[in-house]
């Protein structure tokens, strides 16, 4: 589930629950709209319990779209599931967000 809101002058997208192929199709439009509608988008991943390649692709798309249009997209509050995936695929550099690394 994805919730878009406005906080302190920027857009925030909160992802809750599973972010997999089952949610991918319906998550893409709001995510893209949120990027289009604001200069700064924060994607809060604290509630993500499970993420697969489809979910990852959407995050990659969001980041690429932001880079392309000169906007800013940040991933914050990575849940364990999202951390694991980003770590596994060595994508920390690509996203460029500060990660809270496990000890």
């Amino acid at each position: 589930m994805i919730q878009i809101s406005s906080e302190a002058g920027r857009s925030v997208a909160r992802l809750e629950g599973e972010f997999t192929i089952y949610q991918a199709a319906e998550s893409k439009p709001p995510l893209m709209a949120a990027i289009a509608d604001s200069e700064e988008l924060e994607i809060n991943l604290a509630g993500v319990t499970e993420i697969d390649s489809a979910g990852l692709q959407l995050l990659l798309l969001a980041k690429r779209e932001a880079l392309r249009t000169g906007k800013s997209v940040r991933l914050v509050a990575h849940s364990e599931a999202t951390l694991a995936v980003i770590d596994l695929l060595g994508l920390a550099g690509y996203f460029g967000d500060p990660l809270v690394l496990r000890a």
Binding site: S53, Q57, L88, L89
Partner: protein, 744 residues
């Protein structure tokens, strides 16, 4: 079936592009029959099949995906060198191409129909072909489980043989678009590999992901370059991908692989625009440290005013990269850039949008001509100059716009490669097709309308023209006959010839048939050219057996009508024993006419410029004769004021006016058109006259003059034809009429 316009358009594009790719496959296979296969050609075949399969998968055209997959697998084995592309396989692949075309057609029909229909015949045929294709896939079964992997696995080589220093396995994988839909998750494969040892590095590649609008969240665009340190053997690593074997491109390089393996890997990677450094790092040839060192050295060595040395150069200098790998990486970058540049050189445009544009440009021409006329009437020099330059620019725009519709004849001509090959084989003849002037360009609509007449002429030449090999050998000719399709430009027209070196036409047989059919009287003197052109008369067929190929009674008269509908002329020449040549002469485009404006009985008409040979003043005429002496030639002429009667003033009984005769080209000679006045050349847009006028013979279209008035375009061959017919019904035909009859 979908009401989504964007999806429908994408699907239409899929059908169009798949057909183009099938044509590429066919052309390539035909070329392979005469030339040995090289890697690039085989790659092209594989890519084309792969693309069709992948795109078909996007639209859920299962039958196409399933069939093309088998074809692709066979081509894959050819690419690997496991099977050779010998003639029997080429023939099989050609038939498979036809099957894919049939499947495409059925898929297209099914999308338009309310519910898809079953296609038992195609399916049965497909099953036969798959069985034959499987024969090619079977032999490797004995070789072990490796056969199903999409890409080969290299043998590990000890470091002593010059392999790279890296001690880890390098795995390069690109997942296919359906992986997610099929219930697989690429992440799980990476995790599993991790469980086999230690993942040194993973690089995620998603260059294939399209822009946000087109990106499909359920399609997989991911690939990875993985460095894995493990004690597992190659089989175990390959097995990790068992469930997606058919759905991914996989390459596994053991530790200390030969340099050549890495070079090959770089070449095989999908098209990304990746910086050179990343490429080398991802391929494991460079460590991060070496790359960092190279980058900092690059910064230090820059001399002010000098361009910074390219990354590759420095790395070579520091000797941290093997030169061949470097060059391979550089080559790849160059090729990627070239391909991107090339792809952006073409734009796909809908034909009806182009037609609309050209219509508007035509209006622009008329409007600017009108402005020009006004300027002339006002006698303002500065204004005239301005409108003159305006007209000039507008005409340039029009010419450029028309150029957009021009396509090369090569595409059409090349299609005959397959037809000649198959037909010749059917008849047990050996025939080679030669193409000359394929780059000659013609308006797209005309090219489409030429396909049928050309087909007929080619079949005629194969069927009746070129003899069986034994007959040819007995006559001292080479066993293999030659059929030539040639095109060239000639004074504003395009000339297309179909030439064969066959038996030629027998004048006696033609003449005999002509007498039989009542076209010729027994005592008539006919030139060779006149005899040969009898073949264009309706219902005239001298073939002993009307074969299935050339059709019953659908003869040269249909070809002639088709060519005339394109405002062209067709003629035929032949040398018994040596061959036959059919020549078609057409205007470059039907949209615009280069016309010659003439006045007849107070009305304006246009004569197509490409038919006009010259204009002469009519000498004082004796009304009994309808021919005159053109420098020793008999020139029959038409009195247009009588033929186009009921237009304006009544006809005078004697020509008291100074008239002119426009000498025009006809099928096999010349004719004259007697007109009242000449008004010069015009370059205007053709407008159709409409169904109401479809039965008139003598006028073909309309055109709009600069003053906005409509002028009618004369159909010269129809006028000549109807004059001849009328005269043949008369009493004593004058000599001129005979010449006219032959000129039809």
């Amino acid at each position: 079936m979908s009401s989504n316009p964007a999806l429908n358009e994408a699907r239409d594009t899929f059908f169009a592009e798949s057909r183009e790719m099938l044509q590429v496959i066919e052309d390539t296979l035909l070329a392979l029959e005469s030339n040995a296969a090289d890697d690039e050609t085989i790659n092209a075949l594989f890519r084309a099949a792969h693309t069709i399969k992948g795109s078909a998968g996007l639209f859920d055209f299962e039958r196409i995906v399933r069939f093309t997959h088998v074809v692709e697998s066979v081509l894959q084995r050819v690419r690997d060198g496991a099977i050779r592309l010998l003639p029997p396989l080429v023939s099989l692949l050609l038939v498979c191409g036809d099957q894919i075309a049939a499947l495409l057609a059925e898929a297209e029909a099914d999308t338009l129909a309310k519910s898809p229909a079953p296609h038992p015949n195609t399916d049965a045929h497909g099953a036969e072909l798959v069985a034959q294709l499987n024969d090619y896939l079977a032999p490797a079964a004995a070789g072990g489980a490796l056969l199903r992997t999409a890409d080969p696995i290299a043998e590990p080589v000890p470091a002593a043989h010059g392999g790279v220093a890296s001690e880890h396995w390098h795995i390069s994988v690109r997942f296919g678009p359906d992986v997610l839909r099929n219930g697989m998750d690429p992440l799980s494969f990476v995790r599993y590999l991790g469980s086999l040892g230690r993942l040194i590095s993973v690089s995620t590649v998603f260059d294939g992901m399209p822009d946000a609008a087109t990106m499909d969240p359920e399609t997989c665009y991911l690939g990875f370059e993985i460095a894995l340190m493990t004690d597992a053997d190659r089989q175990t690593i390959a097995d990790a991908f068992e469930f997606v074997r058919d759905d991914c491109a996989l390459r596994i390089l053991p530790p200390h692989s030969k340099l050549a393996e890495y070079v090959q890997l770089i070449a095989a990677m999908p098209e990304d625009d990746i910086r050179l450094g990343e490429l080398l790092v991802r391929s494991g040839s460079l460590t991060e440290a070496e790359l960092a060192a190279g980058l900092s050295a690059q910064g230090q060595r820059r001399v002010p005013g000098e361009a910074p040395p390219q990354l590759g150069e420095i790395l070579l200098g520091q000797q941290s990269v093997e030169a061949p790998v470097l060059n391979a990486a550089l080559d790849k970058q160059l090729r990627v850039r070239e391909r991107v540049a090339q792809e952006s050189r073409f734009v796909r445009v809908r034909a009806d949008k182009l037609d609309q544009l050209i219509n508007l440009v035509g209006e622009l021409v008329v409007a600017s001509a009108g402005v020009n006329l006004r300027a002339l009437a006002l006698k303002d020099a500065a204004l005239q100059e301005a409108t003159a330059s305006l007209t000039h620019l507008v005409e340039q725009i029009r010419d450029d716009a028309l150029q957009l519709r021009m396509v090369q004849l090569a595409e059409t001509f090349n299609r005959f490669n397959r037809i000649v090959r198959d037909t010749a084989r059917e008849l047990g003849k050996e025939i080679e097709l030669q193409i000359e002037g394929g780059d000659t360009e013609l308006d797209k609509t005309m090219v489409e309308k030429l396909a049928d007449p050309l087909m007929h002429l080619v079949r005629n030449a194969i069927d009746h023209g070129i003899e069986a090999p034994e007959v040819r050998a007995a006559a001292g000719k080479p066993r293999c006959g030659t059929l030539t399709l040639a095109a060239c430009h000639d004074s504003g027209s395009i000339v297309i010839t179909v030439r064969d070196d066959g038996a030629g036409l027998s004048r006696e047989r033609l003449l005999k048939k002509g007498i039989e059919r009542g076209l010729v009287a027994p005592g008539d003197q006919l030139s060779d050219s006149e005899v040969f052109n009898l073949i264009f008369a309706p219902g005239f067929s001298t073939a002993q057996t009307v074969t299935e190929l050339s059709g019953r009674g659908v003869g040269m008269d249909v070809v002639k009508r088709n060519i005339q509908a394109l405002r062209g002329v067709v003629s035929l020449g032949s040398e018994p024993g040596r061959g036959t040549t059919v020549t078609m002469r057409l205007p470059l485009t039907l949209a615009i006419i280069d016309g010659f404006l003439v006045g007849v009985a107070g009305a304006m008409f246009v004569v197509p410029q490409e038919l006009v040979i010259e204009c002469i003043e009519a000498p004082a005429l004796d009304l009994q004769q309808d021919y005159l002496n053109l420098r020793g030639e008999v020139l029959p002429f038409l009195r247009l004021d009588q033929m186009l009667g009921s237009v304006g003033e009544p006809v005078a009984t004697r020509n008291t006016r100074r008239s002119s005769v426009v000498v025009v080209r006809t099928g096999s000679g010349k004719a004259g058109l007697l007109v009242d006045s000449l008004h010069g050349e015009f370059h205007t847009v053709i407008k159709p006259l409409g169904k109401l006028f479809q039965n008139i013979r003598g006028v073909s279209d309309a055109t709009i003059l600069g003053n906005g008035e409509v002028a009618l375009v004369l159909d010269v061959s129809a006028l000549v034809g109807s004059a001849a017919t009328r005269l043949q019904g008369g009493t004593v035909p004058a000599h001129g009429s005979r010449a006219l009859a032959q000129a039809v």
